[in-house]
Structures are given as structure tokens and as C-alpha cells.
Subunit: 293 residues, 2 copies
């Protein structure tokens, strides 16, 4: 299996799912919908919906039924980026080489498009739950919790609070666990929940997502120093510019790279305990540690 | 029945429900949770959860099971106020005589507290759906849709777009239907859905909420000109200051007052078709047209 080719094909499939589920532009809400659609369409690796769908497949679930959750998950991820980019937050005008939503549509529309994406994600999932029942409700509850005030939003809050202040690897772990790992955990867990997986399985997948998330975030910090600006689609050294403490600034690049490998290996080892088809998922998770973009 | 005394008692009951469901402050998320709790606790008439609970009772539903939805609904309403007050939106530093969330906790925390409340609302409802099943899923789907990009968020978007521009009563109706009526419709419909009401019933309740919402919003515009600043807890003439077109500026106070009465009467007439206990609900809806605060 060629990981890159397979990943590209799956990314395009997910882009199509997103197009199917995003609100159609038109009427008086045209600008709002355009801002939402722009935010989602400017790219990204679609890693979270990909993990959700692959996890669902691994446990023999119905991919068709998982599609609304894949779309909702990417909308939640996207809203968090749109709001993080706002002037009062990280104040970024570019992401993935494109203007951020507020830079293109104005500050107010940046707030509203983010709100719209978060609400729309739950609108889509609620409708799916009405049709699909218990497993879907469980998947939605997982996503809601991991995206919430003890999860992703807590991570962004503490990340902002730490900016410009001295920190420790413990505090960075707190942020990384919530800001990055929480939604990856949710991806794997929700996909499995849709397939009817039990609590024990969900708990192992939570750990897989946890280690993948930490590896992914530390790698992100490393790439901010050593990466290729054109491939990343954003300026290097943004952490330094924003006075953000990272693993690189705290323990150096070499030890950071070691941690990325260690966490990735732990994630893949845990994944091996499952019997379903998982070749692509395993390779994808491994590649996160080696990614150069 | 003394409406004011009964309303006060029910408001206190709802305040207790909110306290039960709001996140406990503490840990590293203390500031975030404090900002969320502050936003919700600074008051308000709790009209939406009150309508939800009364509607649920009218159709013989279980009030205990409706409590998480009442709490979630007030959180959604509150998040919309917190974000509307932001500098990039209406830029209000006071609401109900208190500092707005961003004025007290900073701009970034205003965004995050709003995000937190919206997400937490769906977290609470998702958990309830996992326990309660189909009726709860239906209630959540109603709230999600009415709060969303074809509902409340669309209203706020177009309201912002219209500010400073000439408008018509048709455009004002578009905004009022979405920004104000949509969540009132959702309150009545979700309460009934929790009690297992059928689609026909939900459709009538949607109309009730529609007329109540229009009456309420036009009354709000009137009070901005003729009200008592101390009782309103906010400065008068904010619409004029913000160059907002209102019913008052378009058709005058007298005709606006007539419309409030007309819409309120239509709402109450529709409500009379239902047989369950509704004395308090009816009086409450009637009072909306006569409120002086």
C-alpha cells in the first residue's frame, strides 16, 4: 500500500463528504455560509475525519452512517482554528498559505462563521442521532466532551494564558493533551462507538489518540523551527515570535524528536491489540511522527 | 395566580438548575469556567428555559428529564449574548447593569467563554440523549437547528449587515424571526418534543413562538426608546446610537405597540387549542407584550 496515494484518495473522499454536508450558499445567509465554507475548504489534511472513518471500519462499522460525524468533526476542528486565528487570540492572518477567515471576511464574520461551524456540527450530528439511535448518541457525546471546556477549549485557554510566561513540560502536556490530543482521541473513539465498540475498546483508543496527539504536537513545534515554510503554508518561528513555550524551547530538538518516536510507537503498539483491518490507519499514525509538512 | 410571584419562584428554580449544570470552577480551567458561570449568572428572565419547562408540563412530560435541556437552552442564549457584546460585534460593555463578559474577563476570554457555553450546552444534551433516547434526540435537533446558521446565527449576521443601512419591515422581520423568535420557538417545541408531542403539535408551537418572538422583539425596540433605564439595566437609545433600524424608527411607536398586541393575541389564541395545564404559560406570554423592563 502506498500511504501517500491512499491518503490523497481518502482526503478527496472526505472533501466530498464535507461538500455534501456544508450549508449551501444562498439567500440572506450567503455571506455567513460563504465564510463557513471558505474556512473548511482552504485545505488541511482531514486527519480527524480520516481517523474517525478508519476507526469505524476497523471495528466493522457502517461508513455511510459515520459520514455525518466525520463532517461534523472537521467542522469542530475548523471552528477552533477560525477562532484561534482571531485578533484577540493568536492574531494570524494566514493559515495553510491562505488568508484566515477573519482576514478575508472581517472580524465579526470570523466570530460568526466559527459559531456557525460549531453549531452546524451538532445540527448534523443531532439529525443523525434521530435516525441512527444509541451508537450515534454515544459518538456525539464523545465528540462534545473532548471538544469542550475540559478538553479542546480548556487547552486553547491555558495555551493563551501561558503565552509569554515561563512554563514546564507538565503544563505543556496539559495544553497538548487538550488542545491537540483530545480531538484525535475523540476521532478514534467516536468512529469505534459508531461501530458499537465497548467501553474497554474506547479506553484503549483514547490512549492511542493521546499518544498520537502528543507526538503530533511536539512534531508541530519541531517543524516550526526546522520545517519548510512553503510546505507548511505558514511562516516559520511563529512560536518564538508569539513568545510561546514549546517542547523545543524546553528540552531541545533532539530530545523532542525522541519523544515523538516514543509516543508514536506506544500508539501503534496499542493499536496492534485490535484485529480489524488497520494497515492504512497504522501507517498513517506512524507517518505523523515523520511528516515533513 | 399571581404571575410575578410565580415567575419569580420559577426563575429561582431555573437558576438552581443552571447552578447544577454549569461546570464547577477549579483546576487550570478555573478562569474559563468562571467566565462561563459569570456570563450565565448575571441574571436575565430565564424566559427560554421557563417556556421549555412549561411546554413540557403542558404535554405531560417529565420535568426532571427536561432540566438538562432547560440548562442547555439558557447556555445557548447566553453564549449568543456574550459573542454579540464583543468589540467586533455590538461592542457593549454593559448588559443588565453588569459588565459584559469580555469587559470583565478580557476579549479572548469572551470568545472562549461563548464557545465553551455553546459546546457545553451540546455536551449536556448529548449525555441526556444517551440516557433518554429518541424524544431527547428530537429536542436537541430542534434546538440545534433553531440556534444555527438558518436560525439565530443568521439573524445576528444579517442584523450586523443591516446596521447603518436603510431597511424595510420585511428585512427586520427576517432578523427578528431568526435572532429572537427562533430560540423561543425552539423552547416551546423542545419542551413538547421531550413529552413526546407529534409533528402537528410542534408545528403549532412553532407558530406560537414565532408570534411571541416578534412581539417580544418589537417591544424591546419600543422599550429602547420609552423604557426605564434602571429597570432595563442598560442605556436607552442604544439602537439610535448604533444606527440600528427598528420597528419604532420605521413605523412609529403607536403602530409598533399595536403589532405587539396583535402578535401576542395570535400566540395565545393558538395556545388555547391545547388542553394541558397552561395558565402560567398563557399569562407569561401575554405579559411579554406588557412588560416594562
Amino acid at each position: 500500500m502506498n500511504l501517500k496515494a491512499e491518503q490523497k484518495k481518502k482526503t478527496e473522499e472526505i472533501n466530498q463528504i464535507l461538500l455534501d454536508y456544508l450549508p449551501k450558499e444562498g439567500g440572506r445567509e450567503a455571506t455567513l455560509c460563504a465564510a463557513m465554507n471558505y474556512s473548511v475548504s482552504v485545505g488541511g489534511k482531514r486527519l480527524r475525519p480520516m481517523l474517525l472513518l478508519e476507526s469505524c471500519k476497523m471495528f466493522g462499522g457502517d461508513v455511510e452512517a459515520a459520514k455525518p460525524f466525520a463532517a461534523a468533526l472537521e467542522m469542530i476542528h475548523t471552528y477552533s482554528l477560525v477562532h484561534d486565528d482571531l485578533p484577540a487570540m493568536d492574531n494570524d492572518r494566514y493559515r495553510r498559505g491562505q488568508l484566515t477567515t477573519h482576514a478575508k471576511f472581517g472580524h465579526a464574520m470570523g466570530i460568526l462563521a466559527g459559531d456557525g461551524l460549531l453549531n452546524y456540527a451538532f445540527e448534523i450530528m443531532s439529525e443523525a442521532v434521530c435516525v441512527q439511535g444509541a451508537n450515534a448518541a454515544k459518538a456525539m457525546a464523545i465528540l462534545a466532551k473532548k471538544a469542550g471546556v475540559r478538553g479542546m477549549i480548556a487547552g486553547q485557554t491555558v495555551d493563551l494564558e501561558l503565552t509569554g510566561h515561563a512554563t514546564t513540560t507538565e503544563l505543556l502536556d496539559y495544553v497538548n493533551e487538550r488542545k491537540t490530543a483530545a480531538l484525535l482521541e475523540a476521532s478514534l473513539m467516536a468512529g469505534a462507538a459508531l461501530a458499537g465498540a465497548d467501553e474497554q475498546t474506547l479506553s484503549v483508543l483514547e490512549q492511542v489518540g493521546h499518544f498520537v496527539g502528543l507526538a503530533f504536537q511536539i512534531k508541530d513545534d519541531i517543524l516550526d523551527v526546522t520545517g519548510d515554510e512553503a510546505m507548511l503554508g505558514k511562516p516559520l518561528h511563529s512560536d518564538e515570535k508569539n513568545e510561546k513555550n514549546t517542547y523545543v524551547s524546553l528540552i531541545g530538538i533532539e530530545r523532542s524528536n525522541e519523544l515523538v518516536s516514543e509516543y508514536s510507537n506506544r500508539a501503534v503498539t496499542l493499536l496492534e491489540s485490535f484485529e480489524g483491518p488497520k494497515e492504512f490507519l497504522t501507517k498513517l499514525l506512524m507517518s505523523l511522527a515523520g511528516r515533513e509538512y
